[in-house]
Amino acid sequence: MTKLEVSSLVIRRGGRNIVNDVSLSARTGEFIALVGANGAGKSTLISVIAGLMKPDGGTVKLDGQALNAFRRQDLARLRAYVPQNPFCEWPISVERLVALGLTPSLPAMGKMPEAYISKIAETLDAFDLNDHRDQPATTLSGGELTRAMLARALVGDPQLLFVDEPIAGLDPRHALDTIKRLRRLVETDKLVIASLHDLTLAMRYATRIVAMHEGRVVADGTPKEILTPALLREIFDVDACVSGEGAGAFVDFVSTV
């Protein structure tokens, strides 16, 4: 089990606190949906807990060890990160793209070890990418690219997965498929932290919701506790209607206040 401990995190940009005194504790086996309006600080928080950005104050610890005390390679093996709208710059094959997820485990030069080749094949299979194996990654559709990027992130079997807006721009079928894949990771004892705008899917699939507003965490708890009309009005400044439970839950916005 791996434990993530965030305390009093502050990130300043242009004289403004983008992330303001955020404390948070999470462990493997959770799927945390990070919700909040645009500019609430979700992406920045994800970058910092992924160790890609240095905070201006506070600490991020994994199993009691500060992030900056990790060797780059060790941290890269432990956690994976997928940014919003990930892309591939060269028309490399999908198989190569997925293989890039093993970068931190590979020697500086030389051939790919046999064990990794079968790991890549397994991952392509698990993400339904077999038909696209040799296709240039630059020609994938949005849904396929999202799958390929998640496969890339998970091929190295990390304990923690941080994803920024994984279902932005996806059609309903691909959005559902992606969110279900993220949810299934909980059963294999991983920690998933994803920023989401689709609150219905967050309510149905996340095990925990962290709501942010103007750089602060304003609510943290189970979907049922957090996704209430009163809180949604505070965070998003719109009236919301919440109905149902579990897989039948709905969150919809009604009208602007």
Partner: protein, 329 residues
């Protein structure tokens, strides 16, 4: 996973054939049997002297310099994720030329033979640092513009040195050198650049894995354990060392670094790390081929190598512009 072996082997065979042909071609054509004798027996026979003292060092230099330019082009394109990046366009060549011109101008080269490559490397290093510093974070366009600005500044300072040259002869010498040539280069030149090309090339080759990860953009590369600052410094040092030394011996030779990676990229699955070695071989093939062409095409005085590569390389650039026009909205 496909391997690069067939591609590299074909390029090596092509390179070997061109290498042998370059020993035969020139003002005096040498029959292949004499060429073999010249290679394996050292004698006083005229053809042996031509081969061993003139054409062999020239061919070796062409291979070393072509390989440097090809490697640097492949690595710079991988780093910037921009198919137009190359030493010439990013101002590396202009910086190296300026450094070398300073060495020639102040007579340092006459006192200390390594002064030209060392100042060439220093010039390349300064120019590349400025280009990277100015252009980083502003995307591809900013980097190309920064390269153009640095090239422009280097060119202006070289022009200034011509302007202020103490006598017409010195100006002529600098001019001549700037056009880029492998004519009259000796084994001394080979041994002068060899260590720098080897060190610079070795540094550049180590960047392969990081460049692959960079295909996913900077954030994902960083998340995969790539130290971006370290990577940029490696590319900066490697390029400045290999290209700086190469340029200081031959003068400016453009477009090899642009064209070589392009030609072989489709055969490597577009994976940046797999482009590097074939691009080095392709660069060597292209430069050796171009050098042979300058000796075969007779237009009075020998055609300068840098002039020739620019003449055949520029249409490639135009082709790229036309391609952009087609895909642009």
């Amino acid at each position: 996973m496909r391997t690069n072996i067939p591609l590299n082997a074909s390029l090596l065979v092509l390179l070997a054939a061109l290498f042998f042909f370059s020993l035969l071609a020139g003002r005096v054509w040498i029959p292949p049997s004499d060429a073999l004798n010249g290679l394996f027996a050292s004698g006083s026979d005229l053809s042996e002297i031509i081969i061993f003292e003139l054409r062999l060092p020239r061919a070796v230099l062409a291979v070393l310099i072509g390989a440097s330019l090809g490697t640097a082009g492949a690595v710079l394109q991988g780093l910037t994720r921009n198919p137009l990046a190359e030493p010439f366009l990013l101002g590396v060549s202009a910086g190296a030329s300026l450094g070398a011109v300073i060495a020639i101008y102040f007579g340092l080269a006459a006192v200390f033979s390594a002064a030209t490559p060392l100042l060439g490397i220093a010039g390349a290093f300064v120019a590349t640092s400025i280009t990277f510093a100015l252009g980083w974070g502003g995307g591809t366009l900013a980097l190309i513009l920064a390269g153009a600005a640095v090239s422009g500044l280097g060119g202006a300072l070289i022009a200034l040195s011509l302007n202020l040259a103490p006598n017409a002869n010195a100006a002529y010498e600098i001019m001549n050198w700037l056009m880029g040539s492998l004519a009259d280069r000796s084994w001394d030149h080979v041994f002068l650049v060899l260590p720098f090309v080897v060190i610079g090339g070795a540094i550049l080759i180590t960047t392969g894995r990081a460049l692959d990860a960079l295909s996913l953009g900077e954030a994902q590369a960083q998340s995969l354990g790539v130290d971006l600052l370290h990577l940029r410094l490696l590319v900066l040092f490697g390029t400045a060392t290999a290209v700086g030394a190469a340029t200081s011996v031959t003068g400016v030779i453009g477009f090899i670094g642009l064209v070589a990676p392009h030609l072989i990229r489709p055969w490597t699955g577009h994976q940046p790390s797999r482009v590097i070695i074939p691009a080095a071989l392709a660069g060597a093939v292209l430069l050796l081929g171009a050098d042979i062409a300058t000796r075969i095409i007779r237009l009075g005085p020998e055609l300068k190598l840098g002039v020739f590569t620019s003449l055949i390389g520029t249409p490639f650039f135009f082709w790229h512009v036309f391609k952009l026009r087609k895909t642009a909205p």
